[in-house]
Each structure stands twice: as C-alpha cells, then as structure tokens.
Amino acid sequence: MSELSSPDNDQPLLVAEGLAKNYGRLPACRDVSFALYPGEVLAIVGESGSGKSTLLQLLSAQLAPSAGRVSYRMRDGVLRDLAELGEAERRFLFRTDWGFVHQDPAQGLRMGVSAGANVSERLMAVGWNHYGRIRDTASTWLDRVEIDVGRIDDAPKTYSGGMRQRLQIARNLVTEPRLVFMDEPTGGLDVSVQARLLDLMRNLVSELGLAAIVVTHDLAVARLLSHRVMVMKGGRVIETGLTDQVLDDPREPYTQLLVSSILPP
C-alpha cells in the first residue's frame, strides 16, 4: 500500500464489527471484525465449511447478520451502516460502486444475451442512453479483459470457461466500482487459464486502485492477489496479517497445516 497520499485513503472503505451469523443453532460465522482500506486486497482463506462464503455474503449485504454490523464509506465520504440502507440504495450500490464475481459465471452473467449486452447492462441501468457510446465502452472493456472484440455479439454460452470468467469481470468493472467481491474466482478453471486470469486481475486491481475481498481455498490465489490474508476456521478468524507474513511464517497450527498442505511445485 504505497499510495497513501490522498487523505481519503486514510479512511477505511469497509468496516466489519463483531459480525456473526447463525443458521439455526449452527454458528457459521462468529465475531469477525476488520477494516478494509481503499485499494487494498484482502483474501479470506480456509477450508470448505469454514464460513468464508457466509462472511462474503454478510459483507456484501446479501445476508442479514445475526449480530454485528458492516459499514461502507459511500462516494460522498460518509460511512454508513449497510443494514440501514434502503433496498433501492443497496441495489444501486451493488450495481455501481460494487462488483461481485461469482465462482460460476452462469450466476453472474446473462447467458442468453450477447457479451456486449452483458457488459453494457450496468451502464444502461445507470441511465446511459446512447448506443454508440455504450458499445464503444463495452468494446474497450472486452479488450481490457483480453476477449476478442469480434466476439462482442456472441452469447456467453458459446464462450469457454476462462472467457466467461473474464467477461464476468468486465461486466462488473464497467461502472468503475471501488470494491469488488470475488467468490473463488478461479475455481473450476484449468491451471494455465487460472494463471492468465490471476495475472489479468492483478493488473486490473492495481491499475484501477480497486479494493477487493477475495474468498478462496487456494493459497496460491491469495499469495498472488492479496495484500492481507484472513484465515478462517469453524466460523472464526484465527489468524490475520500481511499475506507474505502469514503464508511464510504461519503462527497458528491450523494455518501451518494449510500452508504445508500445498504440494511443492
């Protein structure tokens, strides 16, 4: 985090305080608190069932927490409790200032309409009404995520898995959000495609100064993308710190186990 020159960067973008979620008697997420700063990438790692995805849904206001709260600094600089936003405001935030990259692109894309329309949907939702400009912007974004612009009128169902995932990223970034949530963005892709996607995401995140919260079980993804790591187990955050520090010198036994479970290259 080098660019701390702007005074805004001193203020946290997203603040979680004592977040908890119970599914009936099962505590899926317990007492999670942290602050995310503009331009910072946070990875949430842990095995399946550790509460990562629940936490991501709590943070992105898709689930209501059982306890605690999430606050977000709006574009006007005011930190606001997400639970107090009206549904219209929340949905507006979700399609302008936020992005959400799903593990399965079919969830985040409209598979039946063309790639261009997929990228443009958010623009039209915020009132863009000039076809030529919309299309130019869509082409630019397809180019940025390394999709051949000649395929702008093809539906994503004709795309490969890696292309779909890149299209989903373009669709989310077109309104220049400040915060992107990613749920296992490289899951289900083969290794070379994963590497290309990670490379692309790393460039975009640094170019655009995006803050991101990446949920992953893949420590390699965390190492490549994130500045900070939170390790979760049984719904609790058991270790947190700078990525290199946590992955190279894990303190908790569970983190040590996670790190040592990676096959040496």
Binding site: E87, S114, G116, V126, H130, Y131, G132, D153
Partner: protein, 294 residues
C-alpha cells in the same frame, strides 16, 4: 327454472366488483400490473379471456360495444366476443369506432382518433415486459418497484447489435407517466404514439397471467429508445389498395401463389368509411375480381 341463465354480462356481481377494484387500482397507478382473481371464461386462454373479463366488469346496459381483432371487425375472435356480449348483456354493438363507448381489441388501436368517454380494452397475453430477460416474477416485481429498468434497454441493445436497428416491431416497451415500464400488448409499434396523451381510458387485461393494468386519459406514454437510435413508427411503404389511405397501418395479403400481394388497411372500419366517402385505391373494392399477375 325461471331464473335467467346468466347474470348481466356473464360474470356474477361479486366477480365484477373484484375486477372493478383491480381496475380502479390500476387507474390510480398508471402502468402498474395489478393482480386479480381471473376467472375461467367460456373460451380458451389466448382468445381474450382477460379483455372479456374487463369488458364484462365495466359494461353497462347503455354501452355500445365494438370488438376488433387485428383491426378487423369481422374475424372469428371479434365476432364471437361481440356475439357473446350481445347475448349475455344485450348491449348494442357496432363496428364504428366513433359510435362505440367500449372497444375491446386484440393487437390494434383504431385509426380514428379516440375521444373522451371511450374505453379501450386490450387483450394481453404476457403483461410483463421484462419476462423474456428475467424469468423470476419475484425479481421483475422488485425491479418495477425500484424502477430498475436497465434490463429493458438490454433487449433494445440486442436488437441493434443483431439487426442494426431496433427490430422490435410489436409489444414495444413504453414508459407510462414517467414511472412504470409497460408492455402495450402485442400492438404494432405503429400504434404506440396513439397511446400517448390519449383522450380515452385504456385498460389492459391478461386472463391467464391474472393481471390488469391501465393508462388513464391524457397520460404520457413514451416509447423507450436510444439517443442515437430513436423510436420510429413502421408501416409498409404503400397506399391501401382499397381506399388509397397512405397513413394507416397496413396488412399484407397474399393474393396468389405467384408472388401477388396487396396491402390493405388493417382497420376495416376506417377503410370502409373512407371508401364510403369516395376514396379509392388501385384494386378498388367490391365486387372482388381476380387480377392477372404475369
């Protein structure tokens, strides 16, 4: 049994009351789809069960009913619905647009300007304009509630991307009273401008989907478009072969198997009035004669 076989206009009074309440709510919120407890009618879905229920609910003994199907007064659907109300309500029926007080229609708005006091009743197959883009009803209702209409432009975008222009020719989405996006039923987009600031009350009934919506008189109705691809009307570039009209919506009629075709007004009443007033087209009116096409 001395009791009449049917209540006035077929439906029982409680049902009419329920439908009228839905209609009143629809008029109060222009373009909003009001759910109602649609009844089984003695005709199949797709034949205007929604429109018939709306008509039955608003019809009074003094009303004069006109029914059109694709602009025509003499097709099966129009005749059977007209007869239905002639029989069950005993109301006067007409084919004249100006004389009618209630006009039930499938897929057209008459060419003659509607006047205050008239009611248009549209038969609607699919009331939800967002349906083919967003299959979840819960989601589309939420989108209407929050006025999130970006998705509607996705459809128009797709048209331009694929065909170079907005190729949607019917059921062209409109925004009513600067709030709700509405499907004007499958009328040709040629008719869309007639809905804007119309003197008549416009009611829409979807029987299978159980929705009623409305445009009160003198309400703004704007067809959606892009700045660089504005809304345009469409009509075949020809005069009517029977009455010579060059401003009416035309049907293309195939006359033989050698490529012969003629264009005639889709609104039969409008065409007949013009012919009675002495206008003629190239294939002027009765008696019908075969024309040799070489």
């Amino acid at each position: 049994m001395n009791a009449p076989a049917y209540n006035f206009a077929y439906l029982d009074e409680q049902t009419k009351r329920m439908i009228r309440r839905a209609i009143l709510k629809a008029i109060a919120i222009p373009g909003y789809q009001v759910p109602f407890a649609s009844r089984e009618m003695p005709m199949p879905y797709g034949w205007g069960t929604g429109g018939v229920q709306v008509t039955a609910a608003i019809l009074g003994p003094d009303d004069v009913l006109k029914v059109i199907d694709q602009g025509s007064d003499d097709t099966t659907n129009a005749i059977s619905i007209r007869k239905f109300f002639g029989k069950t309500a005993g109301v006067a029926t007409t084919t004249s647009t100006t004389d009618a007080t209630v006009i039930q229609t499938r897929h057209r708005i008459p060419e003659a300007t509607l006047h205050a006091g008239q009611v248009m009743v549209y038969q609607v197959p699919i009331p939800e304009p967002l349906r083919f883009l967003e299959p979840r009803e819960t989601e589309t209702r939420r989108m209407h509630a929050l006025a999130e209409y970006g998705l509607m432009h996705v459809k128009l975008y797709e048209d331009i991307a694929r065909f170079g222009h907005i190729a949607t020719a019917y059921a062209y989405p409109v925004k009513v009273n600067a709030r709700y996006v509405m499907d004007p039923s499958p009328t040709p987009k040629f008719d869309n401008p007639k809905m804007d600031n119309c003197a008549a009350l416009q009611l829409f009934g979807a029987g299978r989907e159980k929705r009623i919506y409305a445009i009160p008189p003198y309400t703004t109705v704007v067809s959606l478009d892009f700045e660089d691809h504005p809304f345009t009307r469409y009509r075949f570039n020809a005069p009517c072969a029977l009455c010579g009209a060059d401003n009416s919506y035309l049907d293309e009629i195939v006359t033989d198997d050698k490529g012969g075709r003629m264009f005639v007004c889709s609104d039969t009443d409008f065409c007949e009035q013009r012919q009675a007033a002495g206008h003629h087209g190239t294939e002027s009116a009765a008696p019908h004669k075969e024309k040799a096409h070489v």
